[in-house]
């Protein structure tokens, strides 16, 4: 019987797998923890049990509250033992258990005793534990000891007290701030880590006081900081001071730059690198300032340590985006990194080289990259593809080799994101470099022959439909497209049918052939494909005769829609079948601004195939429907604009209210969206009392109370005002929420019968000029500007005074006017001293307005602006100027 067991023990595999925790089980360990209660404690055994408990926690085991409490109480017994090792484990265990407030009391006295012990280790650890688990009340009792500990001669104790101070500062700042003197003394400590912890704490105490931080930095940068970590901190604080002082300082020598440069000669690599990085990240850094930093980073590039190489190449890569010339000196070192074992380093090196390289090195680089593409991960490949795209735009003459490279990697294995990046790049190159068009299109054609991603196939087919007919020989694409009709899934087949039809419509000579092909599609087994084929055959001329396709048919089928698709989709959803047919002109044209992420690359052409991601669904239609359903507001006419919701309460208050301003020609309706966040209350008869004494041109005409507002289900109440027709009247309104409160029994959800009337003050709301402006973009600003009558142009100059930055000033004016920025001009490149911004919109009364803003920096921070307005009505042009003049 025993034989196999012994054998198993001898087995070598088993030996290798041996672990002291083999077969460990929570229940058993909790049982074992009873030894903590023994009158005669066995320190070693207790230590082992604690280790087992910690092991379980480490493996992700879950303890219930009851279990944790039980263990906690048992552990507190162990303070009786004098064994140092065991005590150390007890400290760790208590920290892991995060006892609750009433449990903390049990250990407080033991910990306080340890805090005043003669043994440094006890003192240090007791401080750390106590400060972790205590709340403010106890703190006043132990404050005296903590202050002493900060200046303790044992660095371990001092560090423990300082680190605890950093934690406590978040919960009890007023107490910790009283320790400033001791902390300041600790900054001068000889022990490196004490200095580091003291500096961190001192800075956190003072971080909201700019002057004090400034003083701290200037006194410490004179020397006396020994610890490398503290020095790194100091560099960070210094760059922060530099950033903030840049706002008021005249151009000239940068304060503290000498300190940063001095740190480049520090003996710790950590500090050298921190300083070099800080210099490269200075706002508006000059090449003279950059040079010493680049030099030390260059030395790191040839280090034997991967981490150093990585750090250096990553920083240089960032510098290359803004100062490519400064990095060219490192090119030789960079090239040797292409073959680096660490693929992250190699990728960073390549992309840096692509940014800094000149035209002659392109071919050589491409050869090297080709060798290395196969063994890096997709995410790195995308980085490389993007770098190549921008390189190609920089050196259009090299498009042949770069395009070849892209098409080669397109054929290789890869995930969707990677393939999409390549396709997007090719599309951008086709758009921007005319010579690359034909070869690019053929590459794409070949790709869809064997493409597993439906999304990419349809996008490419669509793109082919636009670009293909304009090439010298459109017929050569037909074969590729028609192949899709045979071989693909229904979605791609439908896309291919549309593309074919486009060729037919645009190129008359191809029309008969396209008809033959389209007719074959009539027998497809998918509805959509058949429908499309039928539609196109009929609209293009049906009988197969070679006829000119009518302009309006072309326009309808293939022209671009001038309304945002999201809005169209919403309008269609809201449309109820009736006698009246759907009117496409009723679809609002207001464009939701795209998420910021889309605008990362200023001045770049549209990002590839994928149409810009649809913004959040337009709510305009929903509003319109909602308002017209309320009889009081039904005769106000057409809704001109609805603002974005404006919050009238702070976050996390009892009642959350925001307001949407609906502008009509002669009326304004405020829609108050209210949410009741108290489960024990039901609000009834909710109204908003609006005081319009600061809005003279407005007169209240109607209001619609909200009958009941239960917990957590938003409701709306409305107030309507009359205002002079077509006039952009402005004004301020103060608001008071009035309602009847009824108590609700949370268990049954039933409300009491009697309620109490109550009021709740809301914040003020303003109707401003921008509310009368609709954001409507134009696709070609220049054209639109030229076609507008120059007689209605009004030009004037304004001084905007000192501003934080040019970008901030541009944004402020855009927000003031509430217009749609065109052609990405709302993005201000870093460090530029002048900027032109183009805006368009529709003013109340349906007057188109175009604005050209020219900004310039006048002196260090003063912004001057030239405002040119063109509109269909000169009165409106003047009104725009008035908005700016009074804003």
């Amino acid at each position: 019987m025993a034989q196999p067991l012994v054998k198993k023990d001898d087995d070598r595999d088993d030996e290798a797998d041996y672990s002291p925790f083999l077969g460990i089980e929570k229940g058993a360990v909790l049982q074992e923890a009873r030894v903590f209660n023994d009158p005669q404690l066995d320190p070693r055994r207790c230590s082992q049990v604690i280790t087992k408990l910690l092991y379980l926690l480490n493996q992700g085991e879950t303890f219930t509250k009851v279990e944790a409490t039980e263990v906690f109480f048992a552990v507190t017994k162990l303070f009786q033992s004098k064994d140092i090792g065991l005590r150390r484990m007890v400290y760790v265990m208590i920290k892991e258990l995060s006892p609750s407030a009433d449990e903390v009391i049990i250990v407080t006295s033991s910990l306080m005793k340890d805090m005043t012990s003669k043994t440094d280790m006890y003192r240090a650890n007791a401080i750390r534990v106590l400060c972790r688990i205590t709340d403010g009340t106890l703190l006043t009792q132990i404050e005296r000891y903590l202050k002493q500990a900060i200046v303790d001669k044992n660095p371990v104790v001092a560090s423990a007290a300082l680190v605890s101070g950093i934690h406590l500062l978040q919960t009890n700042p007023e107490i910790v701030k009283r320790w400033s003197n001791e902390v300041q003394e600790a900054v001068q400590s000889r022990a490196a880590l004490v200095q580091f912890h003291a500096l961190a704490l001192l800075h956190q105490i003072r971080q909201n006081d700019r002057l004090a931080v400034n003083k701290l930095v200037s006194s410490l940068t004179k020397g006396s900081v020994r610890s490398p970590l503290a020095q790194c901190l100091l560099i960070r604080y210094t760059s922060q001071v530099i950033r903030e002082s840049a706002n008021n300082n005249q151009a000239g020598d940068r304060p503290f730059y000498d300190f940063l440069e001095g740190c480049l000669r520090h003996k710790a690599e950590m500090v050298i690198f921190e300083a070099a990085r800080a210099i490269t990240e200075l706002n508006g850094v000059t090449s003279r300032e950059l040079t010493p930093a680049i030099t030390v980073l260059q030395l790191f590039l040839s280090s034997s340590k991967p981490v150093l190489r990585f750090a250096a190449v990553r920083t240089l890569n960032k510098v290359a985006m803004t100062h490519p010339m400064a990095v060219t000196n490192c090119n030789i070192d960079m090239e040797s990194l292409i073959s680096d074992q660490n693929r992250s380093i190699a990728t960073l090196a390549i992309t840096t080289l692509l940014k800094t390289g000149n035209e002659s090195s392109v071919d050589r680089l491409m050869k090297q990259i080709t060798n290395f593409m196969s063994d890096i991960a997709d995410e790195f490949k995308i980085v490389v593809v993007e770098a190549i795209r921008s390189l190609c735009l920089k050196f259009p003459l090299k498009h042949r080799s770069l395009m070849n490279f892209l098409s080669n990697i397109l054929r290789e294995e890869g995930g969707f994101e990677y393939k999409k990046a390549i396709v997007d790049s090719i599309v951008i190159l086709i758009r921007d470099i005319p010579e690359a068009k034909e070869s690019g299109l053929l590459h794409l054609c070949e790709f869809i022959e064997d493409c597993e991603f439906t999304y990419l196939s349809t996008q490419i087919l669509h793109f082919l439909g636009i670009e293909g007919p304009k090439t010298s020989d459109p017929s050569k694409y037909i074969r590729y497209i028609y192949n899709r009709v045979h071989l693909e899934n229904a979605t791609v087949r439908a896309g291919a049918v549309s593309t074919l039809a486009k060729f037919g419509a645009m190129v008359d000579t191809l029309k008969p052939r396209v008809f033959v092909l389209l007719r074959r599609c009539l027998f497809d087994n998918d509805d959509e494909v058949r429908d499309r084929a039928t539609l196109y055959i009929n609209t293009l001329g049906g009988d197969g005769a070679v006829v000119e396709t009518g302009e309006d048919v072309k326009e309808f089928l293939f022209g671009s829609l001038d309304i945002p698709l999201v809005n169209l989709e919403n309008s269609l959803k809201n449309y109820e079948p009736s006698e009246e047919s759907f009117d496409i002109n009723s679809v609002p044209k207001e464009v939701k601004t795209q998420p910021l992420a889309e605008k990362k690359a200023p001045g770049k052409k549209p990002t590839g195939l994928g149409a810009s991601p649809a913004g959040p669904p337009s709510t305009v239609d929903a509003y319109e429907k909602l308002l017209s359903s309320i009889p009081e507001f039904a005769n106000f006419g057409k809704l001109f604009k609805s603002s974005a919701p404006v919050e009238l309460t702070e976050a996390e208050t009892e009642y959350a209210v925001n307001v949407v301003k609906h502008i009509f020609d002669g009326h304004v309706v405020f829609q108050y969206n209210c949410t009741n966040t108290i489960p024990e209350q039901l609000l009834e008869n909710v109204t908003v009392i609006v005081d319009a004494s600061e809005a003279e041109e407005f007169a209240e005409v109607a209001s619609k109370p909200l009958r009941s507002l239960p917990y957590d289900s938003p409701g709306q109440t409305f107030v309507a005002f009359e205002k002079p027709e077509g006039v952009p009247a402005v004004g301020k309104f103060s608001n008071m929420l009035r309602f009847i409160v009824k108590e609700v029994d949370p268990s049954t959800g039933e409300a009491e019968d009697d309620g109490v009337e109550d009021e709740y003050q809301l914040e003020e709301l303003e109707v401003v000029a921008a509310d009368y402006m609709l954001k409507v973009g134009v696709s070609n600003f220049r054209n639109a500007w030229e076609t507008m009558d120059a007689d209605c142009e009004r030009v004037d100059e304004y001084g905007l005074g000192p501003r934080e930055s040019l970008a901030e000033a541009v944004n402020a004016v855009i927000n003031l006017l509430g217009m749609q920025p065109c052609e990405g001009t709302e993005v201000v490149p870093n460090n530029s001293r002048s900027h032109t911004c183009l805006l368009s919109g529709v003013y109340i009364g349906n007057v188109k307005v175009l604005v050209r803003l020219q900004f310039g920096l006048d002196g260090p921070k003063d912004v001057a602006m030239k405002l040119a307005v063109r509109s269909e009505d000169e009165a409106v042009s003047d009104a725009i100027h008035e908005i700016v003049a009074s804003g």
Binding site: S159, C232, Y237, N342
Partner: protein
């Protein structure tokens, strides 16, 4: 203020990616399965690299990770994307060397597990703050860990010590029983483990 160097976690995994000891200092990974998933993919990604002589580095899910391997143990330190890589590697090296000192040169999984208490103390001495992975089922008042997160504060994390000798010194001095000399203790420890081992095999 995020200007204090921040460490997101310190991991010690075995050659199959299983945990030996880990410590998380960031709430980015909300639960154990998120943490395990992170460890698994990190392990797979770095497994094939040679990080035995010099510490290696990788960018991964917008973290910077420095790592070093010895025998069947894999040491990792994770930091924020914009963290100074050299600070991270200093922490890693401190941990790595301290473990080496504490395990007296025989650094492998078996030895590490047998001296897990030393490793855990070692982690405790390197960075202040953070928790082991396991969860205490949340009830109303877990002070301060849960409270801190509930109020939206960041649990402050600060590097305590990076010098391996100091770390190991602090850990070892706690562990040495004043009564039993070092050599004797190791023998008695060895005996204890042997006894345990034997008992276990008999029980199988």
């Amino acid at each position: 203020m995020e200007s204090c160097p921040s460490i997101k976690n310190i991991l010690l995994l075995d050659s199959e990616g299983n945990r030996v000891a880990v410590k998380y200092y960031s709430d980015e990974w909300p639960n154990n399965s998120a943490k395990e998933a992170f460890e698994k993919s990190l392990f797979t990604k770095t497994q094939k690299t040679n990080a035995r002589t010099e510490a290696e580095i990788a960018m991964f899910e917008s973290h910077i990770i420095v790592y070093k391997f010895v025998q069947d143990l894999h040491f990792f330190v994770t930091g924020a994307e914009n963290e100074n890589e050299l600070i991270l590697v200093t922490v890693l090296q401190g941990f790595f060397d301290a473990v080496g000192l504490l395990l007296r040169g025989t650094v492998d999984k078996k030895e590490a597990l047998e001296n897990l208490d030393l490793i855990l103390l070692c982690l405790d001495e390197i960075v202040d703050g953070g928790n082991a992975v396991g969860t205490l089922l949340p009830t109303d008042e877990f002070v301060p860990y849960v409270k801190v997160f509930r109020l939206g504060w960041k649990l402050s994390i600060i590097i305590l010590e990076t010098d391996a000798n100091v770390i190991a010194g602090k850990v070892a001095s706690h562990n040495i029983d004043a009564a039993a000399p070092l050599s004797e203790q190791t023998i008695s420890q060895a005996l204890a483990t042997a006894r345990e081992h034997l008992a276990r095999s008999l029980l199988k």
